[in-house]
């Protein structure tokens, strides 16, 4: 116990560049999460539309695709893609990414990480969106159809706006999981917070203060907890607001119990 609180073990925190270095790494994680959620939403929506299609020929393969990606470990997917993504794509990424992103994100291996995160999370978000859309009263679609709206118009003006609005809290909640998942990209040597943490612990070599693993990773953990707690509060409030506005809530999405901050506050 004394090891935990011994001030010597915390000295590294205010010495030199250590904290800033950790924080910069953490920003990389957040930025990766931000990019990933945007693309995951786009692809998730596309997948969801495929999934709810009336044609089995479309919805069935889409369903298989989603189920496969949701059942594989994300770290497994990331490791594979780091090896399998063709160089041409990586070059394209490296050229396309704007300069104002930090160096760690300019790294072309980030594409493999992003692809992995997007493939996995778009499958999850697809299920969230599907649930949001399906939770919409059937009557609405039928009413829209009877008003003479085409399928696309029904989707665009009636179903999607309401269905998608319902899934905002769940999406914010998924963003929390995504934040945590960005630590997995450290396995392919992208310089984010976990790698920076390991570097800080090894920096005793350069003379200077020894930074023990326990303390360094407690600090890293705190960074995540703070940001994620804020997001989870946000998610809960959005959910309560939605419930008040429309009087209905989204059905709990099956298979997403590993999400944070959903639907459990009935008090």
């Amino acid at each position: 116990m004394t090891y935990l609180f011994d001030p010597d073990n915390w000295e590294w925190l205010w010495t030199g560049n250590n904290f800033r270095f950790l924080f910069e790494g953490f920003l990389v994680n957040l930025q990766i999460a931000a990019i990933a959620i945007v693309f995951s939403l786009i692809f998730g929506l596309m997948l969801a539309l495929l999934r709810i299609s009336n044609r089995r020929l479309i919805s069935f393969p889409a369903g298989i695709w989603v189920d496969v990606w949701r059942n594989l470990p994300l770290i497994f997917i990331i490791l594979y893609l780091a090896l399998a993504v063709p160089d041409a794509w990586r070059q394209a990424y490296s050229d396309a990414i704007p300069d104002f992103f930090p160096e760690a994100l300019q790294d072309e291996l980030v594409l493999g990480a992003l692809l992995g995160l997007v493939l996995y999370n778009s499958a999850v978000l697809c299920e969230i969106m599907r649930s949001g859309i399906l939770s919409l009263d059937r009557g609405q679609r039928e009413a829209a159809a009877s008003l003479g709206l085409t399928y696309f118009q029904q989707m665009r003006f009636v179903v999607l706006p309401q269905g998608l609005r319902r899934m905002v809290p769940a999406t914010v909640s998924q963003l929390i999981t995504l934040n945590k998942d960005t630590t997995l990209v450290s396995i392919i040597a992208i310089q984010e917070v976990v790698r920076h943490g390991s570097s800080v612990t090894g920096a005793g070599f350069f003379g200077g203060v020894q930074a023990p693993i326990l303390q360094v990773f407690i600090v890293i953990g705190l960074m995540f907890v703070v940001v994620n707690l804020a997001l989870s509060r946000l998610s809960r409030r959005l959910e309560i607001r939605e419930r008040r506005r429309t009087g209905t809530t989204m059905k709990p999405v099956e298979g997403l119990e590993d999400q944070v901050a959903l639907q459990t506050d009935t008090t």
């Binding site: 160089d87 104002f100 930090p102 291996l109 396995i187 790698r195 920076h196 070599f205 804020a230």
Partner: protein, 302 residues
């Protein structure tokens, strides 16, 4: 209260956004440290790797980020430092370009070179015939020896003693096979990075770490309750990793290494990174082994 809480959330959201933006802006691209223009930078035939690199203005080199004294990411500067890094900078200077470093672990360095993410490997990589199938090597630029690290009070004295004990080494290193040969009953723990081996031996999860003596020296410097047994049971010539078949680039790298040695820079860097930490009698000079000889040390098994 409702309104107050909402402002709370907005404030947090703004803070996070601000941090993200500041974080992005705050990272200036690394200033060009190669202020000293290389005396003469050769012009190269177009179509060669060298010319391409010169056009790009940079060479991407894979180094270790957690293995002092050869490659270690320094949190104070955010840049890697070490013997491999210095050699990399030297080669880059000769080419007249900037050196960009990226982390290359024992496991991923060859795939990274093969698919073009990096242009050169300088990652404490031992020359073996098996690796030579996938990539090319330069002439050896350093000779390390395999050794074993144990806590000072350990009863492990010889390779044989490793049998039945937990031994740590890196996934993808030459030691994976070597240990299976020399101590087949050893319980081998494979990790991604040597810094994890250090942590494992420090907290008692493994009884020994085996890898190149220079890497072990880096560990002893960080924790002097560990000691190296001094077995030197293998010879590990380090070579730079070059894309397969690129003979002109190999020639350039070989020349650069030769100049690195002849100009005395090798000795200077050695003294700074390795020499000052080990006793006189163990110090060495530049390698005299040739690539051919090195390849014979780790022949293909078939």
């Amino acid at each position: 209260m409702e309104r107050g809480r909402r402002w709370h959330l907005i404030a947090i959201a703004m803070l996070v956004l601000a941090a993200l933006v500041l974080g992005a802006c705050g990272d200036d691209d690394d200033d060009d440290d190669g202020g000293e223009e290389a005396a003469q930078v050769e012009e190269f035939q177009s179509g060669t790797t060298m010319a391409e690199l010169q056009d790009a203005g940079e060479i991407t080199i894979g180094v270790k980020y957690d293995v002092p004294p050869f490659g270690l990411n320094n949190p104070q500067t955010g840049e890697p430092e070490g013997f491999d890094v210095d050699l990399g900078n030297y080669i880059a200077e000769r080419l007249g370009v900037e050196a960009q470093f990226r982390e290359a672990t024992s496991d991923n360095r060859i795939p990274l070179l093969v698919d073009g993410t990096i242009d050169l490997i300088l990652s404490t990589m031992t020359i073996t015939e098996e690796r030579d199938l996938e990539i090319d090597f330069s002439e050896p630029y350093y000779i390390a020896n395999g050794d074993v690290l144990v806590p000072a009070d350990s009863d492990i004295q010889t390779l044989d003693d490793l049998n039945g004990r937990r031994v740590c080494t890196a996934l993808g290193s030459t030691y994976q096979e070597t240990v299976e040969k020399e101590a087949p009953d050893a319980d081998l723990k494979l990790i991604d990075r040597y810094s994890e081996c250090l942590e494992l031996i420090q907290n008692g999860s493994v009884d020994a770490v085996t890898t190149d003596d220079v890497i072990l020296t880096g560990m002893v410097i960080q924790d002097d309750s560990l000691e190296i047994l001094g077995l030197e049971y293998t010879t590990e010539p380090y070579g730079a990793g070059i894309p397969d078949g690129d003979t002109e680039f190999k020639q350039f790298v070989d020349e650069s290494i030769a100049e690195f040695i002849d100009s005395g820079t090798w000795q200077e860097r050695y003294d700074e990174w390795v020499g000052q930490y080990i006793p006189e009698e163990q110090q060495q000079g530049p390698p005299t082994m040739t690539l051919e000889e090195a390849l014979k040390l780790f022949p293909l098994e078939k």
